[in-house]
Symmetry: C2
Subunit: 242 residues, 2 copies
């Protein structure tokens, strides 16, 4: 046994090294800027080859926990610009996860040549065909959110033939467009007449608005606006790492 441990070491050695270092960083024992021991020191401490500690350190670097600089060493990174992971699963999953019955209703569907407003909303210059969809999601038969969506058919031609009367466009896209990037803008408004009626709330009640633009490899796919009743719905974001 060339391992430095006498006890049974469940995880593999490089994972143990990684976990050891991670622990010291997370507990603050090694604060941001602190220099991690050199590879050759860790090699001596753990009695293994350099490739093994290198693998541990490389993974920590990939996870942005440390920064590695040639000739200088490896250093604990300072907490990144604060960022949060905001879970926005598709509506069905979101509502189902709450243990509530999911309901869906297509309220409008139009196929048309892109208007100037459409192009502006999708952020594209070229004209093309689009599908405009409005629909409503409900939980236990209570309105949960209304959706107003535009899909660029030049990016997703299949969407022209898709049947959105049963499957919500968000789910459909999620299963047909394998990899996406998106930008969300979250704001608050008060419900106007139309929103109030669709969501069964009072005019002037607060609403949470999420505007989401989704694209794939620099190609716009869809723009969607979701309107939630603000007092009943909450977006939960979990954030890790500074």
């Amino acid at each position: 046994m060339s391992l430095a441990t006498d006890a049974a070491d469940q995880p593999t050695l490089y994972k143990r090294i990684r976990a050891d270092i991670e622990k010291r960083i997370l507990t603050g024992e090694w604060p941001p800027g602190h220099r991690i021991p050199f590879e050759h020191e860790l090699v001596a401490r753990y009695g293994c080859s350099r490739m093994t500690v290198n693998k541990a350190l490389s993974e920590l670097a990939q996870a942005d926990l440390i920064e590695r600089r040639r000739r200088a060493g490896s250093f604990v990174r300072r907490p990144q610009h604060q960022s949060a992971v905001l879970k926005i699963a598709d509506m069905r999953a979101e509502i189902t996860a709450l243990g509530r019955a999911y309901g869906y209703e297509l309220t409008g569907r139009k196929l048309r040549a892109a208007t100037a407003a459409d192009r502006d909303r999708l952020g594209v210059k070229k004209a093309g065909k689009v599908v405009a969809i409005t629909c409503r999601h409900s939980a236990d038969n209570v309105p949960f959110a209304i959706e107003d969506r535009l899909i660029d058919l030049s990016s997703v031609p299949d969407a022209a033939a898709a049947d959105f009367s049963r499957e919500p466009p968000g789910s459909w896209l999620l299963h047909h467009v394998p990899w996406t990037e998106a930008e969300h803008t979250i704001s608050a408004i008060v419900a106007d007449d139309r929103a109030a009626e669709a969501l069964d709330i009072a005019v002037g009640a607060p609403c949470l608005v999420i505007d989401r633009y989704t694209w794939r490899s620099a190609r716009t796919i869809t723009a969607v606006r979701l309107l939630y009743p603000g007092d009943s719905h909450r977006l939960v974001a979990r954030f890790k790492g500074g």
Copy 2:
């Protein structure tokens, strides 16, 4: 030269292998579920050792782009549960980044033994001392957000002596608490009398609310509620990776 390329290969070989595979996944050429070539096939294709392709594949696995299964092979992962990276920098940075003048005003500060409400809000059971702070952030002398914060002194004893009349508690904590986890809850409300006056908006105007709980290694540090005028402020979240 054992490299399979004749052209000058700027990046290193394993990075090129990783990029090649990543590209095929991102363009959809290899859809979710597709089996990546076996390591020994990639070894043959690139004319390198197994460790080199293994490093490329390991990094893709760490980035959740592929999933590796013993004996079966490596497979393109299906787009994860949709998640967004929500940037919420500290207020000064946020406002400064907008090119506006940052203003800060401490409106209240109390040091007290934790009340039942405080303990509930911080999610702790044991009693202890807390600091309660209210303050206001402004951009170009226009109210930008009001903040209502509770700091657990048993986790951050230094906060008792900190001078929050000049430095906002958010910035102070960010620089004194090196590593944190947090949970955000985003909702919408309409402004009540107090909020309307502090933010200089009309009663009944929409407001964006962010409740943030921050802790470090399972230890609660602070709970904060931020109130933004909903029509002027926007939270932008950028999301990558399905």
